[in-house]
C-alpha cells in the first residue's frame, strides 16, 4: 500500500535519490521541502501520510521542524533520514516522537520501516 510522502532535505541530489528509493517501493511523493520552515508550511498544505526529515539543514534544522509539525499534528508520522550517527541521535528521535531514524547511506532500510508502521 503506497503512502503519500513529503521529502525534506536541503540537498537536491539527496531528494532525488530518496524519491527514487521511495517510488521504487510503490509510494507517491507529494512534495519536497529544502528547509525546516518550508517543511512545516508544506505539511499543513499537503497533509502527507509520512514525512522523511533530514537533520542538518541551514536555518531551521530537522529536529526543530519535526517538533513543530508534531505540535500542529500529533498523529504526524516523521522518519528522520540523516548522515548523522544513529546511536547518538536515536534518543532525540524518541523524545521528539518521530517514528524512526534511518541512515542515508542505507536508505533502502526506510522501505521496511514504512511497511512496519
Amino acid at each position: 500500500m503506497g503512502k503519500c510522502i513529503l521529502i525534506v532535505d536541503d540537498s537536491s541530489i539527496m531528494r532525488k535519490m530518496i524519491k527514487e528509493t521511495l517510488t521504487s517501493g510503490g509510494h507517491k511523493i507529494v512534495g519536497e521541502a529544502k528547509n525546516g520552515v518550508d517543511a512545516v508550511a508544506l505539511y499543513q498544505t499537503l497533509k502527507p501520510d509520512l514525512v522523511t526529515m533530514d537533520i542538518t539543514m541551514r536555518g531551521m534544522d530537522g529536529l526543530a521542524a519535526a517538533r513543530e509539525i508534531l505540535e500542529l499534528d500529533e498523529a504526524a508520522q516523521i522518519i528522520f533520514l540523516s548522515n548523522l550517527d544513529e546511536e547518538k541521535y536515536s534518543q532525540d528521535v524518541k523524545e521528539i516522537g518521530a517514528k524512526g531514524f534511518v541512515n542515508k547511506h542505507k536508505a533502502g532500510d526506510i522501505l521496511n520501516l514504512i511497511d512496519r508502521l
Binding site: 540537498s11 537536491s12 541530489i13 535519490m17 529544502k34 541551514r58 548522515n83 541512515n103 542515508k104 547511506h105
Partner: protein, 227 residues
C-alpha cells in the same frame, strides 16, 4: 602516489593560493574591456558632466550679450520668461544629476557588491571550503543566484558524506573480518557488504549527467568515442 592523494595535496597547497587566484580574477576585472565597474563609472561621469555643461551653457547663452540685445524693452515679458527658464534649466539639471548619483550608489551597493561577495564565496567552495553559506541582500534575481550557489555547496557536501559513510562501512567490515580471521588473506564474510556499498556509491554517481563522459561498469568513455 594514488590519484586521490595527488588531488588532495593539490587542494591543500592551493588553499593558501585562494587569495592569489582571487586577486588574479580581480585584476581581470580591472583590465577587461567590458566590466560593470568601469562602464558604470564612465556612464555616470559622462552624463553628469554632459548635463552640467549643457545646463551651464544654456544659462550663459540666455544671459549673453547677443541674446539680451535681441530682447528689447518691448519684450519685457520675454525677459521674465528667460530668467524663469534659466532657473528651470538649473533645477532640472540638479534633479538629473542627483538621480544619476542615486543610480550609481544603487548599482554599487546592490549589484556590484553582492556579485563580488558571491564570487568570493564560490571561490571558497571550489577550493573545498564548504562550511560557509553566502548571504547577501540584493535584488531577487541576484539573491536567487546566491541561493543556487549555496545549493551546489550543499550537494557537494552530501556526496562527500555519502562516500564517507559507504567507505567507512566497508572499512569496518574489513577490520572486523581481519580481527576475526587474522591469518586469512582476504576478508571472507564482509565481501557482500563491501560489494553492496560500492554498488550504492556507483548508483549515486549514476544520478549525475557528466560532461563529455559516459560510464559503464567496465570503463569510462569520452562521449564522442564509440564503445
Amino acid at each position: 602516489m594514488s590519484e586521490f592523494a595527488v588531488v588532495h595535496n593539490f587542494m591543500l597547497s592551493n588553499r593558501n593560493k585562494i587569495s592569489k587566484v582571487s586577486n588574479n580574477r580581480i585584476s581581470k576585472i580591472d583590465t577587461h574591456p567590458h566590466s560593470l565597474r568601469k562602464w558604470i563609472n564612465i556612464f555616470f561621469i559622462a552624463f553628469t558632466s554632459g548635463v552640467m555643461v549643457i545646463a551651464v551653457g544654456l544659462v550663459f547663452y540666455t544671459s549673453s550679450y547677443e541674446f539680451s540685445n535681441f530682447l528689447t524693452d518691448e519684450h519685457s515679458d520675454l525677459i521674465k520668461i528667460v530668467s524663469v527658464t534659466q532657473k528651470v534649466i538649473l533645477a532640472l539639471a540638479s534633479v538629473v544629476i542627483v538621480g544619476l548619483a542615486l543610480l550609481w550608489f544603487y548599482l554599487q551597493r546592490f549589484i556590484l557588491l553582492p556579485l563580488n561577495h558571491m564570487r568570493k564565496s564560490a571561490e571558497h567552495i571550489i577550493h573545498g571550503k564548504l562550511d560557509q553559506a553566502v548571504k547577501i541582500t540584493a535584488p531577487i534575481e541576484i539573491e536567487l543566484l546566491s541561493e543556487t550557489i549555496n545549493d551546489l555547496s550543499v550537494n557537494m557536501q552530501e556526496i562527500l558524506l555519502f562516500v564517507w559513510n559507504q567507505t567507512e562501512n566497508s572499512l569496518r567490515c574489513i577490520e572486523e573480518d581481519t580481527y576475526e580471521n587474522p591469518n586469512a588473506d582476504m576478508p571472507t564474510n564482509g565481501l557482500d557488504t563491501i560489494k553492496n556499498n560500492l554498488l550504492e556509491l556507483q548508483q549515486m554517481i549514476s544520478s549525475f549527467t557528466l560532461y563529455d563522459v559516459h560510464m559503464n561498469r567496465k570503463r569510462v568513455f569520452g562521449k564522442s568515442d564509440s564503445d
